[in-house]
């Protein structure tokens, strides 16, 4: 199944898929309008969550920890071979899988020294 089909199953439009950075099986491309997914963000960058795309499961899970649209986060680290992404939100750090991280759309606001 291609990502487009997955996207359709999740009731997403093609535009949303492009926004999310999904591009066939490669998974990610660089987006031009300053929006990136949490997976694309570089470690050490800060950003604001624009949208969380995907099943209600992920939205609920993140929301339960207070991570939702409009929140400021920082990407602490990423792992090789599409390993989990660690983000910092307030005083807590949360690790989430690469695919989950690809569904969190972020506008990068700055880099942390």
């Amino acid at each position: 199944m291609s990502w487009q089909q997955v996207g359709l199953l999740m009731n997403l439009s093609k535009k949303e898929l492009r926004m999310s950075g999904f591009n066939g099986n490669k998974g990610i491309t660089n987006s031009t309008d300053g929006q990136v997914s949490l997976a694309q963000m570089r470690a050490g960058e800060r950003g604001r969550i624009l949208r969380i795309i995907g099943g209600r499961g992920l939205v609920y899970k993140l929301e339960a920890l207070g991570i939702r649209e409009g929140e400021e986060i920082k990407k602490v680290s990423e792992q090789w071979m599409r390993g989990p992404v660690l983000l910092k939100h307030g005083h807590s750090q949360v690790a989430l899988g690469f695919r989950m991280a690809s569904r969190v759309l972020v506008r990068v606001t700055g880099e942390h020294k």
């Binding site: 339960a64 660690l86 005083h91 690790a95 989430l96 899988g97």
Partner: protein, 566 residues
Amino acid sequence: MGNPNVGKSAIFSRLTGAHVIVSNYAGTTVEFVKGSMRIAGHDVELVDVPGTYTLNPTNNAERIAVGMLMDRDDEDVVLNVVEATNLERSLNLTLQLLSKRTPIVVALSFWDEAKHRGVSIDADELENILGVPCIPICAVTGWGINHLVEKIKEARPSSYQYSEREKWNEIGKIVEKVQTLTHRHHTLLERLGDASVKPITGLPIAVAVLFLAFQLIRFIGEGLISHVCEPVFETLWSPVMLKLSSLLGSTGFVHDLVIGQLLEGQIDYGQSFGLLTTGLFVPLGAVLPYVLAFYTVLSFLEDFGYLPRLAIMVDTLMHRLGLHGLAIVPMLLGLGCNVPGVLSTRILETRRERFISATILSIGVPCAALQAMVVGLVARHGVANLGIVYGTLFIVWLTLGVLLNCTTRGESPEIFVEIPPYRIPYLRSLLKKIWMRMKWFVREAVPFVLLGVLLVNILYTLGVIQFVGQITEPVVTQILGLPSDAVGALIIGFFRKDVAVGMLAPLGLTGKQLVIASVVLAMYFPCVATFATLVRELGIADMLKSAGIMIVSSLIVGGLLNLILT
């Protein structure tokens, strides 16, 4: 109730004096524990539950917590533990609890850590807003606990109203009113925390931590055995036993049961197999030192907060096994004892993950008791043999995980876990935890080992082991290349694997045979305690499936070793 890793169990053990494990990672508590305390002259029952972020649970541990809340009576009080350093997130659960209109008292935990991090909270103002008592505490040191106890009486339902849609705005407003932040610089621990999750620094750190842990366990374990346990048994206990031996007439069934066989007039704790000789030496002299060493190291890593970070580093590997990084926690606990290991698979969300992890855990992860005996016995024939045992079990663990991942239906979710800050372990609670685990070991292990030794004697006397040995000879001798006597160890291995390995000692096996026997003993079937836990956690059907995999894979692996090794 409260979010994971906010100190619920620490408060519970402070209040009740009950012994529960407290660690620094989400998901330490996976079942509810009851205890009691006295408040104003009344006996009160207290229940410690697993942590949860919301009242919509996503895994079994959370389900237990929410189920407990739903089963409450009208007079029950909910003690909601709120992490002062994460007020906003914690209040999400608090508001959900308040809307249940049940009497609540709020404990603001990690008060000291919040101060260090520049977070200050106006507890009185929070109390005014929420309409329930809010008490600052520090659970590990016990600061504020007395005040909390006094205030439990004042728990009351709140009349706080909010709309679900405006929840986060509402929480934001509360936080703005009660919390002030001052900027603090990164501490050394925070920098260390970041370094251990970046691939370039994190992988070497993980390797170093595991290597050091292994060396430390060996150092403590071997040191205790050769400097404390063996001298105590040899110089203090042996004379007593020899006296008893002559009193019992040096031969006969009772003598052999209590003292066992003397070798050249002396007691050999490895081979005599009497209740008071081998039966006591195995758990207390040979296994206990390693169990102590293992739990000292594990407890430190738990309290420091390393386990969830290790989970991040091994996540990619664990995906190949149909699991995610957090599944490393049950595996590590399993290296101590398989029972808590299997129990902690509850932190995994799906049935599929629990089946895979519990199965490869009980096949490929040997418990400390088994390891201690294997190390003692196999290492005599060369450390390389020990390497083969561990190497084989690791390959089996890996291969089986990959196979189960391909053949078990369904998909496994990705990791999703909060990573706590590193914390310097509080020495008293660390020592208490190690002490508790030792007590459990002695209480669980000694009776079973004695039962095992008793059984060995009875079964030998009745000729049962010799009989089963004859029937199973084709399998044991032809496939595994072991003498038919070794079947006794396989029978007893169901009770205690340490006793089973002990039974191999008098057989005079070669290095190769010891390697095969150790590997097969580790894999073929869980001990009775683990078996019971597996049945409870997986259900009968999956347990039978799991047991089938164990028996078949142990025969295949044992047979292969017999062919390959020289």
